[in-house]
Amino acid sequence: MQRPVITDLARGVDRRLIGLSLVGLLALAIGYLGQNSWGVGSAASAATGAIVTDVIGSAGSRNPVRAKVSVAVTNRGSQQIRVLKPDLPGDGTAVLSLSPSELRVDPGAIGRVDADVSLRCDLPEPLRLPDLRMELRNGTLWGLPVSGSGMMVEACSRAASAFRPLVGALARRPAGTSPATGTSPTGGERLTVRLHSPTGRRFDVPQIRAGGVVLTMSPATVALTGKTPVVVHLTAPKSCPVQWQIPGIPSALSVDLRPPASSRPSRAAEFGATVWLQLGPAVASWLLATSCPAPQ
């Protein structure tokens, strides 16, 4: 019996249809799963970072301490983003308001926003800003982590002494020495300072400087582990440094703080901070006597 022509044709069409359907389904699946990778039909592909650039203000005795924190938002993605105030508090911090309240950052641009922040400087835990809220073009909201929260300790250092991360005092002078200095066994004059953290904050002190000049420390690195005072001996430069020519003789010390070695790497205490230690006229007198003495 001769097969009807129409049956062959139908079979051929069936095979083609099934094949095409399979290809279509496969492509559909690939498109669905892969759309985020190549961005076809996607509103995402955002790459955005935020970082603290300045910490301003905070003088006063109120608790929590208030400060203004400048945050730079870098948009390396392909779409404009909107940055909004966080909903939740951070670790020992809360963003009270943003200025501007809504920041729009174009692709490839850096936007800046000032955050009015309250800080629990009295707590020993590291301070960390909450994630800002970032809205994509399609309305999706994402958290935007802010780097450099550790710099907010600088605001605490300008608050009342009970909230400061670091307080220093001159050690009692040995008999027969000037109020500012202690005489070392080697005969060289060193400034002896007692450091402690009134709030029990833990950090390392890798460097102490006067007017941009590094002072030799003994011990070389100080680890503050709570409220226990630590004594550090400072040696001034041997000659009057060029750094002091225009500004004058320093009367305060700048102290670098960084998260304790045991906690690194730590996302919660990113970046070190530099705080000022004011010990009165003794510092200027000591530097004058040791580094810039009167010619004999």
Binding site: G12, V13, L20, V23, G24, L25, L26, A27, L28, G31, Y32, G34, Q35, N36, V40, G41, S42, A43, S45, A46, G49, A50, I51, T53, D54, S70, A72, T74, R76, I110, M134, L136, N138, T140, W142, G148, G211, C240, V242, W244, Q245, I246, P247, G248, I249, P250, S251, A252, P265, R267, E270, G272, T274, Q278, A284, S285, L288, C292, P293, A294
Partner: protein, 317 residues
């Protein structure tokens, strides 16, 4: 003759009328592309957007700044509009400022990156490239200090500081460069030089250096070898001048003795003024005098040194 790809009723063998032409293949491709497009569309609508990537971020702050008098002396050809060089002027018209920037970099990725260069605009007239060789650990941060010599010549147009970081990945491949976010004062109009002007006394770009200073009883005598191109502004009584001398914001009682073509002696009358050293402000080691120059009366900074600091009274009542 061409046959439409969708013509499924075409007789068998019709699709090979033209050599190499395969309508079935085209149909396959069309269906595949349509599937991809529809799938992507469905994916973008139904599936949640991918989390934004968190790139490396960096900030640039001023750590220290000072004037280095040991840098090359006055420019042999002063820039247009600048005052002529003077005998014991320190440095050149650029100001000889040295600024130490602190670059802090945060790497939220799991893999470490290596900083290879920092590109700076707005510090000098030309762009600068500073080589770096610093590793930033994955999920970590790093701080590095770099020294720059800004051009703060009086005639220079103010410029904001822009910075960019070049990096390589763990395998040494180049990564996308990162725009650094400088502190606010560097980003605003005026940039770095405005910040130096704010921090330092007027006339820091072209200071004079006292050749000698000595206490005379309660007074302090400051000798400046010569003031070519400048004359102290004030009343001249015989050969004695009553110049205008500032120490910080205080106007000092003083007198001056001039020798034509020779040295100028300033006598600062005692008792020495009282300065506060408890608020962290440095104790001055220089003076400012008002001097008549080519461009009218202007402030000149005179570096005296620690002798002046010792003469001052600290935190007196």
């Amino acid at each position: 003759m061409t046959v439409p790809a969708w013509d499924l009723d075409a007789p068998a063998g019709q699709d090979r009328l033209v050599t190499g032409f395969r309508p079935g293949l085209i149909l396959l491709l069309a269906v595949g592309l349509a599937g991809l497009g529809l799938g992507s569309l469905a994916g973008s609508v139904l599936a949640p957007s991918a989390a934004p990537r968190l790139p490396v971020t960096a900030t640039l702050n001023i750590r220290d700044m000072y004037v280095d008098a040991s840098l090359p002396g006055p420019s042999p050809t002063p820039s247009e509009g600048a005052s002529p060089s003077v005998g014991n002027q320190v440095g050149n018209e650029d100001g000889n400022a040295v600024v130490v920037f602190r670059l802090q970099v945060d790497n939220p990725a799991d893999q470490p990156v290596k900083m290879t260069a920092l590109l700076l605009d707005g510090v000098t007239r030309a762009s600068q490239r500073l080589s770096l060789d610093v590793q930033v650990p994955g999920q970590g941060w790093t701080a590095v200090d770099v020294s720059v010599y800004p051009d703060c010549a009086l005639g220079r147009k103010p410029a904001e500081v822009r910075a960019e970081l070049r990096m390589t990945g763990p395998d040494g491949s180049d990564l996308d460069s990162v725009r650094v976010a400088p502190m606010r004062s560097l980003s605003r109009f005026g940039g770095l030089c405005s910040q130096l002007n704010l921090e330092w006394p007027n006339g820091w770009q072209t200071p004079l250096r006292a050749s000698a200073a000595r206490p005379l009883g309660p007074d302090l005598e400051v000798t400046i070898d010569d003031l070519p191109g400048s004359r102290l502004a004030g009343a001249l009584v015989g050969d004695r001048l009553l110049p205008t001398v500032f120490l910080g914001d205080q106007l000092l009682s003083s007198s001056a003795q001039l020798q034509p073509g020779g040295e100028t002696r300033l006598r600062l009358a005692g008792p020495a003024p009282c300065v506060r050293a408890s608020d962290g402000t440095p104790v001055p080691s220089n003076l400012r005098v008002l001097a008549q120059g080519d461009r009218g009366i202007q402030q000149r900074l005179v570096i005296v040194g620690p002798v002046l600091t010792r003469w001052l009274r600290l935190n007196c009542r």
